[in-house]
Symmetry: C2
Subunit: 145 residues, 2 copies
């Protein structure tokens, strides 16, 4: 699968440490976003014992652009951008659509939308260093049901 090859690449590019690789692995294998503590629970067998070990790995992974933090959930997801993590996106603005029924998270970036936000900021003299956009609701599958 091409997407997996790409992910393996970016992972290698960043030379993930053991803990980072473990945490990233759990997130990659999960459909839904996960809290740091539930990640920890899945890594007890691998020797992780303390929340801090997970939080430290997450911090790096977020820096690398491999993982996103969802502020409205206090949870984390592996990057699932259509064009792959870091394809010019990792340092751009991303938006998330979070289904409250099935926990699916769709990730997207709309340049026009971002441009409009930037326009408002500029007019106000506000200098944004990060932008959080999270839609909560029902995904297509859960909407009809």
């Amino acid at each position: 699968m091409i997407a997996n090859a790409m992910k393996a690449d970016t992972r290698a590019n960043h030379d993930l440490t053991r803990n980072q690789a473990l945490v990233f692995g759990v997130l990659e294998g999960s459909e839904a976003p996960l809290s740091a503590y539930s990640i920890l629970d899945q890594l007890r067998e691998d020797g992780l014992r303390a929340p801090l070990q997970v939080y430290r790995a997450l911090e790096k992974l977020v820096d690398f652009g491999l993982v996103h933090r969802l502020e409205s959930l206090n949870a984390f997801v592996a990057c699932n951008h259509p064009s792959g993590p870091e394809a010019g996106e990792s340092h751009g603005t991303v938006a998330f659509a979070i289904c409250e029924k099935c926990d699916n998270v769709a990730e997207f970036a709309d340049p026009d939308f971002v441009e409009r936000l930037r326009g408002w900021a500029k007019a106000e003299g506000f200098e944004p260093h990060s932008t959080i956009i999270e839609l909560r609701g029902l995904c297509e599958g859960c909407c009809v049901a």
Copy 2:
């Protein structure tokens, strides 16, 4: 002051209970967003003892549209929409620009980019029930300094 009169009106319209009025009062009097626990600290003299008393009041105030929750801060602010709380805004989409130096929060609503978001959602079949937009950065005053 007209703004205060307006706020008093909306407060009266909702017939705030004692605890709700106390919590709202603290938020109105604060420049920066406040956590539930720091609100509680300011209300010990008034008889409040437990976090739940504050959280319950906050839940109602958010429902009324008098208060907003900032997801990226785990904190709350009194509504400061230009046209006043509930001026057609309370059930619309609002965005926040949060200064990380002085803690000032600017609240704004841009119908155009809300429309654009809605367009994306519709195309994806996603039915949003709430939208979170938070810009983190430096406000005009802190930007130059």
